[in-house]
């Protein structure tokens, strides 16, 4: 490969890394905002920090397996430690997890459209519209390039929002530190137990030059928790726990903001959700056919159709169902990590 090809490949890997980090940030933020925050209010930020630990622990264990097997990606490590079955299991698990994440994100986005912003149109028509727009960008590198291209714009908008929101911050809003007490914190920790599972996704990509992949996950994870911390600084606990309903929770960051800031935040929120849905759908497609050399052309359409059809059901019932599934998302990855590393240690190649 000549230098130009290497540079192009490295650029594509970086773009893919940006998309994965964005997916990480959106997934973690969505779980904290919609599952953890309504249960524990002011203590959500530090409860979310605790909830990051299982995801990072599993990712660290899987990274250790990769180190033991001298593998560049997680799929290679699974193949080296467990065999082909391991690689299939990993792909299957990730495809299911990404599909659940995509359904969660599209449900959140459509609910934000219909019940939050008050857009005219049924959930199904809006889901169809989202699906059609996604079809334009579900090209193999299209989304990643889009996310990479927009990263500084999104970062600048987020910083601007943070600075403006800081003007309304009151230190006493972080108190009482334990919110409604230990029971509420435990319930919130249970709901958010798996929130950091997308960190593992960073290990599935080809490494780009520069910083380590797990170190790259720290920024999106902490940015998500930081955003929640900022929100708890601007709204007191007694109001945080009053919020019920998905739309109200998603609108919470903009609820008391000036109109211009509200528009900017909602635009940013929709854009990031949109990119995250696209990323989840694309990665789920890739994972489904990881063993095959070529992904069938029709598969992205099937995935999008499935996402579209998920919105045909009652949104609140679907959200409740997802709430029952989400605390267990880390389980298959944890299981694979626990099986793979002793095997990797056993088959370790001596230098």
């Amino acid at each position: 490969m000549n230098r130009q090809t290497i540079s192009r490949l490295d650029g594509e890997r970086r773009a893919q890394g940006t998309l994965l980090r964005l997916l990480c940030a959106v997934s973690i933020w969505r779980t904290v905002m919609t599952r953890v925050l309504p249960l524990c209010g002011a203590s959500a930020w530090w409860t979310a920090l605790l909830c990051l630990l299982p995801g990072f622990a599993v990712a660290a264990l899987l990274r250790f397996t990769m180190y033991l097997t001298h593998s560049a990606t997680l799929a290679e490590a699974m193949r080296a430690s467990i065999g082909r079955a391991g690689a299939f299991l990993l792909s299957g698990a990730l495809a299911v997890l990404l599909a659940v994440d995509a359904v969660s994100s599209i449900t959140a986005l459509i609910t934000l459209f219909t019940q939050g912003v008050g857009t005219r149109g049924t959930p199904l028509t809006l889901a169809a519209l989202t699906g059609v727009v996604l079809l334009f960008s579900l090209h193999r590198e299209g989304l990643a390039r889009g996310a990479h291209f927009l990263r500084f714009v999104m970062a600048a908008a987020a910083i601007l929002l943070a600075v403006i929101l800081l003007g309304d911050a009151q230190p006493d809003h972080l108190f009482p530190l334990y919110g409604d007490g230990l029971d509420a914190v435990l319930a919130a920790a249970e709901a958010g137990f798996s929130l950091a599972w997308p960190v593992v996704l960073l290990l599935t990509a080809e490494p780009a030059q520069g910083k380590g992949r797990l170190r790259g996950a720290i920024l999106p994870a902490f940015v998500s928790v930081g955003a929640v911390l900022l929100l708890t600084l601007t709204i007191p606990h007694e109001l945080l726990i009053r919020q019920d309903g998905l739309a109200a929770l998603l609108l919470l960051p903009t609820r008391y903001a000036p109109n211009a800031l509200r528009v900017l935040t909602l635009s940013l929120l929709m854009l990031t959700f949109f990119l995250a849905i696209g990323a989840s759908a694309q990665l789920a497609t890739d994972q489904l056919f990881v063993a095959a050399k070529r992904v069938p052309v029709w598969l992205p359409y099937v995935v999008l159709a499935a996402l579209f059809l998920s919105q045909a059901t009652d949104a609140s019932a679907l959200w409740t169902l997802l709430g029952c599934i989400e605390p267990w998302l880390i389980a298959p990855l944890a299981l694979l990590a626990l099986i793979s590393w002793p095997l990797a240690l056993k088959w370790r190649k001596c230098p």
Partner: protein, 325 residues
């Protein structure tokens, strides 16, 4: 890049469809009153006729939401509250004011930065008096009037967002709205406690001084006036939460008093005001924000019975002035 642009255009088009502005009537002011069990709301909306002008739409119902729905039905177009500048509550709502504010803030379309005022003037009369003083826009008139009165210390800033976000930690002071010679006037306030506690313009000026809401203030005190700037107040709550102290420092630019005289008079008036507010359970300076820092969870906070403690609290006020007296 082309695909990205198409994507952004499509997203922009979908978001635009949410706000068909020409199909909505944007209320500039909203007044809520209750007569027995009957709720009544009045909205002031532009007529959209050539030459401008405003009209009042009214709705009634057995609940606030029913009254709002009725008002929406009686409006010529879909009524929208996203441009609301002034929310007026009838004085008779008393302890229900807080519930009304929460209910309105829960509505997505209500502008959270509208000013919240309390009035004893009949709502219909008040609404008809809401006219642009200069130019053609009522919203601008209200904005300018509010800014001016806040700068003068005649009223304290009280937006719906601010009031709601005080939660259980501070008592808001709502703006007092009256009619003077047929025109609206903002002067004084209502401290929100168990009931609305009326405050004079002189008292709101003193509170403005303590809260630092205005850069410069003209104080009317017993025995003369004083013009001050750069006021800073340090508020402390004792460990046992039985006493509170205020250290106020400021620069005097003009005064009818000597420095010592001003300190003495001001400290006396502040002490009288703070004791009156505390006795009514009205925590306008947010001592509750300091008290909640000492609790681990909400059960402990509620166990404190803060309002009851506040009624018993003893105040110490010290004033330090600098500059020409």
């Amino acid at each position: 890049m082309k695909k990205l642009l198409i994507l952004l255009m499509l997203l922009t088009c979908t978001s635009c469809s949410a706000l068909p502005a020409e199909e909505r009537a944007f209320a500039v002011a909203l007044c809520v009153e209750r007569e027995g069990t009957l709720w009544r709301v009045h909205g002031r909306i532009p007529t959209y006729k050539t030459g401008g002008g405003y009209t009042t739409v009214t709705g009634e119902g057995d609940s606030l939401s029913a009254a709002l729905a009725d008002m929406d039905a009686s409006a010529p177009m879909h009524l929208h509250l996203s441009q609301l500048r002034l929310l007026v509550l009838e004085e008779g709502l008393g302890a229900d004011m807080s519930a009304v504010l929460h209910e309105l803030s829960d509505r997505v379309d209500v502008r959270p930065h509208c000013a919240v005022a309390v009035t004893d003037v009949p709502a219909k009369e008040l609404m008809d008096a809401l006219k642009p003083a200069t130019g053609a826009r009522l919203s601008k008139t209200i904005d300018v009037l509010l800014d001016t009165r806040i700068e003068q210390g005649a009223v304290l800033p009280a937006t719906l967002a601010d009031v709601i976000r005080m939660g259980e930690r501070q008592s808001p002071v709502l703006i007092a709205l009256t009619l003077t010679d047929g025109a609206i006037d903002l002067s004084g306030g209502y401290g929100m406690a168990d009931s609305a506690l009326p405050l004079t313009a002189r008292e709101t000026t003193l509170l403005s001084l303590l809260r630092g809401d205005a850069k410069t203030l003209r104080l009317s005190l017993s025995g003369g006036t004083a013009e001050v700037r750069d006021a800073r107040a340090k508020i402390r709550l004792s460990q046992g939460m039985q006493s509170a102290s205020i250290e106020l420092t400021m620069t005097v630019t003009a005064s009818a008093f000597t420095a010592d005289g001003l300190e003495e008079v001001l400290a006396g008036e502040l002490l009288t005001l703070l004791e009156r507010l505390s006795a009514a359970g009205c925590d306008v300076l947010g001592l509750g924000r300091k008290a909640i820092l000492r609790t681990a969870n909400m059960a402990e906070w509620h166990g404190l019975e803060w309002t009851a403690r506040l009624r018993q609290i003893s105040w110490t006020v010290s004033v330090g002035v600098s500059g020409p007296a």
